[in-house]
Symmetry: C2
Subunit: 262 residues, 2 copies
């Protein structure tokens, strides 16, 4: 801050947070998007619940990441938690800040400009919105879906997303890289999106989807054996038309100890 004085053409951009909420439904990685509505009313005033949508490229509205301008009395992290909560009802989910996007022209697409004016009432003189992006990895289950529909939100498969508002395609791509890197050193993030009890096959499936490769079944069992925090239970599957699989659970206490000694 020493390199400009009173002279510098300082200015105040808007600061927002955007949340890249990855979800796993047991089969695919998804991302939670909301409609960039053409209506000028805010969703709080005019909730329009509707069925979880499919991508519709020809619709007049575009999809975008959930986000919000930060409020005066909020920390960045708090704003991100608020966005998550208002959209999904979830609290205390670790949200990871990964990058700030502040290019001069990131809000220059005419459609986006129009939307910002109508929906946010931003005056014509606004210059830019600097957004601080967060990601989280969520378990897709029944609790989330109904809330999402209030915001015309939908889970979209991560592969083959169409064109999104602003620079949100880029933000998601970036989030994905940070997610992978984060998971390397924090594998617990993956266990959060499995059921409390899970089978070896479920864990393997998750690894295969996440890392985009296949794992030899035998070697994967050995890999699991080397994770002391993956604890086999006595319980097994029931009612399956084949040999019943053993259940495992993730032991966080054990996980934290394991990390310390490593």
């Amino acid at each position: 801050m020493e390199t400009d004085g009173k002279n510098g053409p300082a200015f105040n951009p808007y600061v927002s947070v955007d949340c890249v909420l990855f979800g796993y439904d047991g089969e695919r990685l998804m991302v939670l998007l909301v409609r960039q509505s053409e209506a000028s009313s805010s969703p709080q005033q005019d909730p329009a619940p509707q069925a979880p949508c499919l991508a519709d490229e020809t619709a007049p509205s575009t999809l975008k990441l959930p986000g919000s301008i930060i409020y005066k009395e909020e920390d960045l992290d708090e704003a991100a938690q608020r966005v998550l909560y208002e959209l999904t009802g979830l609290k205390n989910i670790p949200l990871h800040q990964f990058h700030a996007f502040g290019d001069k022209n990131r809000t220059s697409n005419p459609r986006d400009v129009r939307w910002l004016r109508r929906f946010h009432g931003l005056d014509a003189s606004f210059e830019r919105i600097v957004t601080v992006a967060y990601f989280a990895l969520l378990k897709i289950n029944r609790r989330i879906a109904p809330l999402s529909s209030d915001y015309e939100a939908c889970w979209m498969p991560l592969d083959g997303l169409g064109f999104l508002a602003f620079d949100h395609n880029r933000i998601i791509e970036s989030a994905r890289e940070y997610l992978y890197r984060h998971a390397e050193t924090n594998p617990d993030i993956l266990f959060n999106i499995l059921p409390r009890k899970f089978t070896a096959a479920e864990l393997r499936r998750l690894f295969e989807v996440f890392y985009g490769q296949t794992y030899d079944v035998r070697n994967f069992h050995k890999k699991m054996a080397r994770m002391p925090y993956v604890c086999p239970l006595d319980e097994r599957e029931k009612g399956v038309p084949h040999r019943a699989a053993r259940y495992y659970r993730f032991d966080r206490v054990c996980y934290n100890q394991f990390r310390k000694i490593k």
Copy 2:
């Protein structure tokens, strides 16, 4: 951005960039800091060259990270590059954005508030400065030092920093973690801070300082042999009172190829 409408108490904070410039002098890791001057004039108008300073806890001024409010026509990355250039004269150095700091009270220390008013002429109503932090790893050499002194800048040993302005202690600690993580996947960053020609001992010393551990000499030679981009030269040290060490150089072309196939 769907979770607030016209209703939200949106506001515009200042947005700044701060640069954590790590430096290596062949022996220690340092960080480049500037004085949080009590004078109200900007350094451009009143450059006061002085000898590279030592930490002086009792002085009326505190040390801080170099940084700047972003200008209207600047991208965040451009602002960070500008700060780096104005302070060191260096261009085209990769600066890595790593985190945005936007806590409500990060600029609430009375001394910092006073400084912001005097030095930046920020009016009394400012609420907050959201700062986007960058780091880079530099080779400390003669070209940097003279420029630094114009800003009352000094290289401080990374360990044992005193109390800095704002939340800059925290920012540096965070930068350090990101730097380590970055170097894991991008080891080239370490070779940038070695001389063009370096000995195995120099490389080992760097690794030991950087990773805070010692390396067995023989194993380290094997480690080097597994880095195809570290090329032995025919040249050797001269005039040393012991067996002359071989020189090596970092081959970037080879490095890039090696990364692709991995």
